[in-house]
């Protein structure tokens, strides 16, 4: 049993380098497939980052009556934070609002003059972000009907409703399209790789038949092909890993502008374990499984 296993591994390794040209051609295809699948993984990270930063822009603001006490406002904030729909609440006090307003309009003397006539006419407000677009209406109705409603002067939801829904709708669509396209590309890539392995084994069909006729067992015949597939997969993974790391390292800074703050290198390094696992599953998985399937056809003599 152990001797057989040793022989199978030895044959696999020997066949790998005695037909090095063919093996490297297989590795080449596997590297492309691994590269593609890794890119899809990185793109997923990038698009999540982009989607999140777009969704950051969707929010509603509740303006609070001038006479509400800070204590009541903070209590309302606490209550809101506890709600499962709410992702984030930001409190902007009257003073902060004034500061911000002055900053934005300091170059417009008329506005500044008009502002000087009053003693801080701005309202304090709570800025609320929900997880989903669909959660805003219930949030708003909660605010309007619940106890602290007497604090609330106005909610800007009706004005922002359309924009919020569009932001969520479009990002959701992008997400779904991404998943579907990735899936299709991955399937195509895997089929191409499978076919490469299949063609390589097609060359050995006569040999497989002879091995059957002289009494070798299926595992003894198939084993070396599977070992070869695993070796090709493993080399492809090692090569791809370094290639991708190199590309990100040298290209990352140059395309940083397009990534809107997404740090490709640190994302890659943070997910190195997952990425290596995905690559191994792809490379070695394709090598092994397609060798297994491709040999089956020639073993039935």
């Amino acid at each position: 049993m152990l001797t057989s296993l040793k022989r199978i591994i030895y044959f696999g390794w020997k066949d790998f380098y005695s037909s090095l040209g063919l093996s490297l051609a297989t590795c080449f295809i596997l590297v492309i497939v691994i590269f593609l699948i890794t890119s899809l993984f990185l793109l997923k990270g990038l698009s999540e980052h982009l989607i999140a930063s777009v969704r950051e822009k969707a929010d509603i603001t509740i303006f609070l009556k001038g006479d509400s006490s800070e204590e009541d406002i903070l209590k309302l904030k606490e209550e809101l934070v506890k709600m499962p729909e709410v992702k984030e609440v930001e409190y902007v006090s009257k003073e902060q609002a004034l500061e911000k307003f002055t900053k934005e309009h300091k170059d417009e003397p008329e506005i500044m003059r008009a502002l000087g006539l009053f003693d801080n006419p701005l309202w304090s407000s709570l800025n609320i972000k929900a997880f989903e677009a669909a959660q805003y209406p219930s949030l708003v109705s909660f605010l309007e009907n619940s106890s602290p409603s007497n604090l609330i002067a106005e909610v800007d939801y009706p004005q922002r409703k359309l924009l919020i829904e569009q932001i969520f709708g479009i990002t959701e669509m992008v997400k779904r399209a991404g998943i579907i396209i990735s899936f299709i590309l991955a399937v195509i890539a895997i089929l191409v790789a499978f076919n490469t392995v299949r063609l390589a084994i097609y060359n050995s069909r006569e040999e497989i038949k002879i091995q059957r006729l002289v009494g070798a067992s299926n595992w003894f015949i198939r084993g070396p092909f599977i070992v070869q597939g695993a070796i090709a997969g493993f080399f492809s993974v090692v090569f791809s890993l370094f290639m991708i790391l190199g590309i990100i390292y040298f290209l990352g800074p140059k395309i940083g502008f397009f990534l809107s703050g997404f740090n490709l290198l640190s994302y890659f390094l943070a997910n190195l374990g997952t990425i290596a696992l995905i690559q191994l599953a792809t490379g070695v998985g394709i090598g092994v499984i397609s060798s297994y399937i491709a040999t089956r056809k020639y073993l039935d003599v």
């Binding site: 049993m1 005695s18 091995q211 002289v214 009494g215 070798a216």
Partner: protein, 231 residues
């Protein structure tokens, strides 16, 4: 040990679906340790008959038994176990092109799970028997037809099979070499191995004085205990 019961084998040609009857209602029985020659014109069905014993082909009609196993019905997964009891010299040699002469012979022992030292001892010995020690590290494409044939013979003997199927094993050998091979087969037969030999060689058959099955267009026309070469 081996019995054919009304066995027929029909091939369908790839182009035009024409039927070719390679064997037609053949019945016979071969006992353990027998030496049986099969003669017949080219195309008479000799190779087909051997292929049926090796279960490379399945019979179209009739039944073939090998040590009690029905070869027409047996599962392919069970075939390796049966084939390891058989050593075959194929008419077209069927050596593995990516392995050297030595590795081709060693492969059989590796496949049956023999120990490494047994392989190291036996392979050179059998190479010596067929006179090809000096060609051990050559690939089949580097060998002459006769040399390939002798490697094929060495491969068929290496694991001391119960049955040897030899399909024209002397077809590419000079008369002296051919005689040596036949003597070798006789010696192996004496120690209890069943030998089934298909041949065109009249001289050999007449000298052997063993059982001869004569095929004519797929039919078994003669089965003589001390046969002669009559076509």
């Amino acid at each position: 040990m081996i019995s054919f019961k009304e066995v027929s084998k029909t091939f369908f040609t790839r182009a035009g679906h024409k039927q070719i009857i390679a064997l037609n209602g053949v019945s016979f029985e071969i006992k353990p340790a027998e030496f049986v020659s099969i003669v017949g014109k080219s195309g008479a069905g000799k190779t087909t008959l051997l292929k049926l014993i090796l279960a490379e082909e399945r019979p179209t009609r009739g039944e073939i038994f090998f040590n009690g196993d029905n070869l027409g019905k047996i599962k392919t997964a069970k075939l390796p176990r049966i084939r390891r009891k058989i050593g075959t010299v194929f008419q077209d040699y069927k050596l593995l092109p990516s392995k050297t002469a030595y590795e081709n012979i060693a492969y059989i022992l590796e496949a049956v799970g023999a120990e490494e030292n047994e392989i190291l001892r036996n392979v050179p010995e059998v190479l010596g028997i067929v006179g090809l020690e000096s060609r051990a590290q050559n690939f089949p494409e580097e060998l002459s037809a006769g040399e390939r044939q002798r490697i094929a013979i060495a491969r068929a003997l290496i694991h001391r099979p119960k049955v040897i199927l030899a399909d024209e094993p002397t077809g590419n050998l000079d008369p002296y070499c051919a005689l040596d091979i036949i003597k070798l087969l006789l010696k192996i037969n004496e120690i209890g191995t069943t030998v089934i030999l298909s041949t065109h060689d009249k001289e050999i058959i007449n000298r052997l004085g063993k059982r001869v099955l004569t095929l004519e267009q797929g039919a078994l026309v003669r089965d003589e205990e001390r046969g002669h070469f009559i076509l």
